[in-house]
């Protein structure tokens, strides 16, 4: 399935997203299979960046891989959307009644 070119031969088994254990190989494969252009799409289809840290560790690496695969500069890659919460937060805390909010 994986094209046997230079970029794929080197270190394709390195884990890029540590939370979800997604390898460079899986990310490159998804980009090629589905013509992905954005970090959000890579996240949704491979789960890289969907784990506990929400891409805070791997986002830049993922963007770098997309830039290589699509022959664009990293600065041209649309970054993954950041979503609340900034840190994981327990459901019971979210459920607490508001103190003051109007």
């Amino acid at each position: 399935m994986i094209p046997n070119d230079k970029s794929m031969r080197k270190r394709v088994h390195d884990i890029i997203c540590r939370c979800e254990e997604i390898t460079e190989r899986e990310i490159r494969h998804a980009i090629r299979q589905f013509n992905l252009r954005t970090a959000d799409e890579v996240k949704r289809l491979t789960r890289a960046g969907m784990g506990l840290c929400q891409g805070r560790t791997c986002a830049l690496l993922v963007e770098k891989i997309i830039s290589e695969e699509t022959n664009r500069k990293v600065s041209e890659i649309f970054p993954s959307s950041t979503r609340p919460p900034v840190r994981p937060i327990k459901i019971e805390f979210l459920a607490k009644k508001e103190e003051k909010e109007s």
Binding site: E20, R44, P84, I89
Partner: protein, 393 residues
């Protein structure tokens, strides 16, 4: 740059990609236009991927049933695993007050020919240990399921692309040109595409495309918010679990607007799916906030509170992501619009699926492809005709 297609599909969501796939399968040359940088950026990418057949009423039930049939073999058909699981569903109640409604619901579903059964008390917790002691009764149904909506969306796109469909991303439709009652071309910010048909599958944005051909499509964005938790050990797969209030919040806009309960007014009713990765998604909510996709703490709080009551084990679990999406909601009657217009006569509408777009995507694609290539459809879509909005147009 000038291009030619048999059909231009506006919108790269789950509906647009399904339509493209079924058309391409019949040898039709399709170009899909999507204004975002990728696919699945609207409601298709912001939902829980659950389908509970017992939530559907006629006439939409007549679409949901065959659509679920297609899902059973969809992964094989398109050559990509969409993580479909036939889990069935359980609509349950934490309230003695909801109980008469549950009885009514049960009887109604039996009359509609859905195989449902009532499960009460501790029997529920034997079957689904995650359910809290407050849950008093549940109606179980076995035909529903869960699937990965991104994978369905991209899977249809992948299969369509293999059959020759082209996807033009980051393109906005600027103009739809016509010659009398026939559309001749679609003009984007980058090219002009000559075409025999246009399919408006723009979801919550469908009314903007409608305006370009001079019609008013009564669809507006209805926001839904979701909490995603960290991974937990995968539960023994049982059912897609819903709160009995879902029957009101999703399907009875008048009751929502009249309600004195602020939770109901925000459309909050529990909807719980544990994905095959172990993450739980907690929905659901419905409000109108134009095109904003921000989450609001008030709604998140109600979602979390409700979850803590239905599934107390989730209380000590971390949420890692909160997000919102926009469902295409037909504010006249809440039903989908699947229709070919009289004028312009080569304009087809496929939107208004509200919270049921994932469930209905396969059958929608199939029927729209028939509407375009065969003139008649294998299942009647008269109930979804655009002509029902007589006063508006």
């Amino acid at each position: 740059m000038n291009r030619i297609a048999d059909v231009v599909v506006v919108g790269g969501g789950i509906i647009g990609c399904s339509v493209a796939y079924y058309l391409a399968k019949k040898g039709v040359k399709v170009i899909v236009i999507e204004k975002k940088k990728g696919l699945s950026f609207g409601a298709s990418g912001a939902n829980q991927g659950g389908c509970a057949l017992q939530l559907f009423h006629p006439p939409v039930l007549e679409l949901a049933r065959p659509s679920l049939e297609i899902y059973r073999n969809l992964s094989q058909e398109i050559g990509y695993d969409v993580d479909y699981e036939n889990t069935g569903s359980l609509v349950c109640s934490v309230d003695e007050e909801q109980y008469p409604d549950m009885q009514k619901h049960l009887e109604k579903k039996r009359r509609q020919g859905i195989n449902v059964q009532l499960i009460e008390g501790d029997r529920l917790r034997e079957l689904e240990p995650t359910l809290g002691g407050d849950v008093v009764a549940g109606v179980e149904e076995r035909e529903g399921g869960i699937m990965n909506p991104f994978k369905v969306n991209y899977g249809f796109a992948y299969a369509a692309r293999k059959l020759g469909t082209e996807f033009f991303l980051s393109r906005e439709v600027k103009k739809i040109e016509r010659d009398k009652d026939r559309i001749t071309s679609v003009v984007t910010d980058r090219e002009k595409i000559g075409t025999n048909f246009v399919v408006n599958a723009a979801g919550a944005w469908a009314s903007q495309i409608g305006k370009m051909v001079g019609i008013s499509i009564p669809v507006r964005p209805r926001r839904g918010q979701i909490i995603v938790t960290e991974r937990l050990p995968l539960n023994k797969r049982w059912r897609y679990i819903l709160d009995a209030d879902y029957l009101t919040t999703a399907f009875d806009l008048a009751a929502v607007e009249k309600s004195e309960d602020p939770r109901i007014r925000l459309g909050v009713a529990g909807s719980y799916v544990q994905e095959n990765t172990g993450n739980w998604t907690i929905g659901s909510s419905r409000d109108f906030a134009d095109y904003t996709t921000r989450v609001t703490m008030q709604t998140i709080r109600y979602l979390a509170k409700r979850a803590a009551r239905f599934m107390p084990k989730l209380k000590s679990v971390n949420s890692i992501r909160l997000f919102a999406g926009l469902r295409p909601f037909c504010y006249v009657d809440g039903l989908p619009i699947l229709s070919r217009l009289n004028s312009p006569r080569n304009f087809v509408i496929a939107t208004g699926h509200a919270g049921e777009g994932v469930t209905l995507a396969p059958i929608t694609g199939k029927l729209i492809s028939e509407l375009i290539t065969e003139k008649t459809t294998s299942i009647s879509i008269d109930a979804f005709a655009f002509s029902r909005f007589k006063g508006l147009n």
